[in-house]
Every structure is written in structure tokens, then in C-alpha cells.
Amino acid sequence: MGGRRTSYEIYWEILVFCKTPRSFTSIINRCDLNSKTGQEYLEFLSGKGYLSIVTEGERIRYQATGQAAEYIALFTRLYQSLFDTIPGFKL
């Protein structure tokens, strides 16, 4: 149930999942992405320095860097504030 997510939501999901080193396949499976778009997201985040590439023998893994923490924190705060600022739905 990936639904219609914005790219910012997908970035957040990838960064949170990659707090510990993850393989490309596990990232695209967990974040419900296809190979092509998954590669694009990872390239963007690696290029900006939010993900580092960890090589273990022949295996390549991605891990969120310290820089990612700021984005994760801001995103988490913004999304949780949706429940603070707007009156909720109740029957």
C-alpha cells in the first residue's frame, strides 16, 4: 500500500530505513519503489550527502549520514504538527 506519496515522503522513508546499512533491493522493497525510481532517489540522496555507500566485499549498502538527521527531524516535526494544529476527525 504505497499510495500516492510525495518525493519528500519517500526521501524520509529511505533515510529512516537506512539508519542501519541496507542493500538496494531491501530499500526498494521496503519503500515500495521500482528499480528505476529507486535508483534515482538513492542517487539524489547520495549526491546531496544524505546517504553514504558502504562496501562490504562485493556487496554495496547504503547508510544515512549525520546530515540526514536534520531532514528526518524537520520532516517528523512537520508531519506530527498536522495533528496539533488542525482539529481532528471524530464521529
Binding site: M1, G2, G3, R4, R5, T6, Y8, E9, Y11, W12, E13, V16, G47, K48, G49, Y50, Q67, E70, Y71, I72, L74, F75, T76, L78, Y79, Q80, S81, L82, F83, D84, T85, I86, P87, G88, F89, K90, L91
Partner: protein
């Protein structure tokens, strides 16, 4: 803060789950009411109690109720299965729920809403339409028990027959209208949240670009 948000999220999830479930039930009732309307009218036609025009109109109206009810059930099941999936996931969580877990669920909820927004809007319209439609059917049905005396110029209604046969119609009509109102309320809340997200994207973009 997370505990509070988690409880609020759970409360909203529960409310929408109940609304979606009730919606499936009432959509089925609308369809059943339409079928009942058709059967009664066909029987009246076969027995030749009344003229052909009145039952024929009733069959046509009943048919429309069946079609709308069927379409409404399909849409309701789609909405219900999505929210059930989210609710099951939330129920499986162990306390305390972490910041990231609850944020992940908020993303799931908003993406679920984006995906189903059109269906929810259709259901609001369908609810209003069904409400008034069933109300009109109920009124038409009530007219069968109304008689007019030309000599005295008075109307009389057989209350003992009209109440049992039309009360369910009025009940379904009122519930349909309430259901539409609650879906509208749900939609308004999530539309506001979506607007907040659109505004927040500028901030997120700024932080990302600093990378």
C-alpha cells in the same frame, strides 16, 4: 508529544473505520431497499391491484436505487479495505510507539487519502443523492396509503400500514445524509492537512538543497 499524537491518530483511525464499515452496511441497505421496492411493485402489477403506470415508475426508481447501491457498495468496500489494513497495522504495534513509526503511519494515511480522495468525494455526493432519493421513494410509497375524499375534501392516511413500510426508508435516508456529512468532515480535515503539507514542502526543499 508522540503519545498524544499516537492516541489522536488511533482515535481518528477508529472513527473512520467505523464510518467506513457503517457505510458498507448502509449501501447494502439501499440496495436491499431498491430490490424490495421492485418486488412489491412487480407483485402489485401481477395481482393487478393498481394501474400499470404507478408500479412501473416504482420499478424504475427501485432499479436506480439498486444500481446506485451497488456502485456505493463497491466504493465503500474499497475505502473500507484500505482503512482496515492501516488499522490492523496500528493495532499490531507495541507501546510505546516511536516518533518514526507514527510519522510513517501518518504518511500512509495521507497517501491513502490522496489515492481515495475522488472516491470519497463520490461517496459524499452518492450519500446525499441516496438520502434524498430514498426519502422521495418513501414519500411516494406513503402516497399509496393516502386517500382523498371529494365529498368532505379531507385527506386520510392509513398510519398502521404506512409506518412499518416507510419507516425503514426514512431511516436509511437520514443515515445516508449523516454518512455524507461525516465523510465531508473527514475530507475537510485531510484537505487541510494536505494544504499544510504543500506549504511545508518549501521548508523541506530548502533543507534538502542545503545538503
Amino acid at each position: 508529544m508522540t503519545d498524544n499524537i499516537s492516541q489522536q491518530f488511533a482515535g481518528e483511525l477508529r472513527s473512520f473505520f467505523v464510518l467506513s464499515l457503517l457505510n458498507v452496511v448502509f449501501a447494502a441497505l439501499v440496495m436491499a431497499f431498491g430490490i424490495q421496492f421492485i418486488v412489491i411493485s412487480v407483485l402489485a402489477l401481477v395481482e393487478g391491484e393498481t394501474s400499470i403506470v404507478f408500479p412501473a415508475i416504482q420499478i424504475l426508481l427501485g432499479g436506480v436505487a439498486v444500481l446506485v447501491g451497488l456502485r456505493w457498495i463497491l466504493a465503500s468496500v474499497q475505502i473500507f479495505s484500505g482503512i482496515k489494513q492501516l488499522r490492523d497495522e496500528y493495532s499490531g504495534l507495541e507501546d510505546p510507539v516511536s516518533d518514526e513509526t507514527i510519522t510513517g503511519l501518518i504518511i500512509r494515511m495521507i497517501s491513502y487519502y490522496r489515492e481515495n480522495r475522488e472516491t470519497i468525494q463520490t461517496m459524499i455526493i452518492a450519500g446525499i443523492f441516496c438520502g434524498f432519493y430514498i426519502l422521495i421513494l418513501g414519500i411516494i410509497h406513503s402516497l399509496e396509503f393516502l386517500s382523498f375524499s371529494f365529498s368532505s375534501g379531507t385527506f386520510t392516511i392509513d398510519i398502521h400500514r404506512v409506518i412499518p413500510s416507510t419507516l425503514p426508508a426514512y431511516f436509511i435516508a437520514v443515515v445516508s445524509l449523516f454518512s455524507a456529512a461525516f465523510f465531508k468532515k473527514f475530507s475537510k480535515v485531510w484537505d487541510l492537512r494536505q494544504q499544510e503539507i504543500d506549504r511545508a514542502e518549501e521548508n523541506l526543499q530548502h533543507v534538502l538543497e542545503q545538503g
